[in-house]
Amino acid sequence: MNRLGDLERAVMDVLWQRNEPLTVREVGRALADRDLAHTTVMTVLDRLAKKGVVARDREGRAWRYRPAASRENYVSELMIDALGETGDRDAALAAFVRSMNGSEAEALRRALEEIDEPRT
């Protein structure tokens, strides 16, 4: 993964871990081991805001950043995309098997049993 993507991820991890809106400086301090310049952290947060994954509110002269949604929310969003459960998104991704309804899944379970335990 490229450096910028890696940083975005690290910054999001910080925001998700801490349950409060953070300033650029606070995010930088949480990532002190990476020794990032203030402007670098600002750029990364700016990119994340443009992507719509962090929200920001002004507090005095500084912006405070917080995640727009929880990590679990985003994982669910990806899975919903992937399983093709939203009407017109199916061309964007190709799922190995689209989701089944109850009776379809039942038919597959039966087929599996027959293969796993071949009748003698």
């Binding site: 992507k51 985003y74 017109d88 964007a92 190995f96």
Partner: protein, 313 residues
């Protein structure tokens, strides 16, 4: 008027051919050929329908479809958008209507394609962004990114520079190592052969005609064939049994929260079972002669339409 009649006949036979193709059994013996036939039928339907409308509407110019379009532009230009030639005929209004309908249909199909493409790019971009933030790599699973979710899912995210195969934690639970490799091979086949681009025109048709059941079922048929193409590629590297087992385990792990009405056709055999039985009981591939015959018919169909567009009859 002869070409208008012939083009209408072709447009109608495209419907009949598509319905028969959907029910035919040979496509699963040659999914690649069948996908090409679907594309040709779609293209032929569009061009013959639009051509028939134009041939009828532009008949007063007596120069066929292509010549008629040139004449139409000249006529409209010289008479301030008043179509002197057409207005003078006995059913002028109907003919102008046919020309307008032809242009509207062209616009609808074209804008549907563009809109689908834009939508697909937007979804993929967002998906890629989020994936970068929440997915992780696993040295045990090379060539794929992992998503921590209990439901079983495996999919690919196509892109020019940044294609990715994604596997959910739930999928890792149900698959053993060799089955997982088969799934990844299947997904890489989708990416390598850009199957998403093959499917795009059909999904844009679905967008252009959202409530037409037939478009939906045809779309499903093409999507299934494309899965079979990827299955065929994957079994060059992995055993078909591994792939079949992976398909069954995925399906059986059943995410039972499918929204009502998403796919109401439960009487049909689940598509997955079609793929499984095809993998476990190998069918004979189409012979070279059969393939040649089918493809020649497709070329002949497109050739005929081209000729009918240019003939001044």
């Amino acid at each position: 008027m002869v070409s208008a009649a012939l083009l209408s006949a072709i447009a109608i036979s495209c419907f009949v051919a598509a319905a028969r193709l959907r029910r035919a059994s040979w496509p699963r013996r040659g999914p690649y050929v069948a996908v090409i036939v679907w594309q040709v039928l779609g293209l032929a339907w569009g061009f013959s329908t639009i051509g028939a409308l134009l041939a009828f509407g532009l008949a007063p110019y007596g120069r066929g479809v292509v010549g008629g379009l040139v004449a139409l532009v000249q006529d409209a230009g010289t008479h301030g958008l008043y179509l002197s030639e057409i207005a003078g005929t006995s059913f002028g209004a109907t003919q102008v209507g046919a020309v307008i309908l032809a242009f509207s249909l062209t616009l609808l199909l074209f804008s549907g394609l563009v809109a689908s493409f834009v939508q697909v790019l937007r979804v993929r971009r967002r998906h890629h962004d989020l994936l970068g933030l929440v997915a992780h790599d696993d040295p045990e699973v090379p060539g794929a990114r992992i998503l921590d979710h209990p439901a079983a899912a495996a999919y690919c995210l196509p892109g020019v520079l940044r294609s990715e195969v994604v596997i959910s934690a739930g999928a890792l639970e149900v698959l053993d190592r060799s089955e997982l490799a088969a799934v990844i091979a299947h997904e890489h086949a989708h990416l390598r052969q850009r199957h998403d681009l093959v499917l795009l025109p059909f999904s844009s048709l679905k967008r252009a005609f959202p409530h037409v059941r037939m478009v939906e079922t045809h779309y499903r048929a093409v999507a299934l064939l494309i899965e079979m193409c990827a299955d065929d590629q994957a079994r060059r590297e992995r055993s078909p049994k591994e792939l079949a087992m992976a398909l069954l385990r995925f399906g059986a792990s059943g995410t039972a929260h499918v929204p009502a009405g998403a796919l109401a056709v439960t009487s049909d055999e689940p598509e997955v079972l079609t793929r499984v039985s095809r993998l476990l009981n190998p069918v004979q591939q189409l012979s070279r002669r059969q393939t040649t015959a089918v493809l020649s018919a497709a070329v002949a169909l497109l050739g005929t339409i081209t000729v009918l567009w240019s003939l001044p009859v």
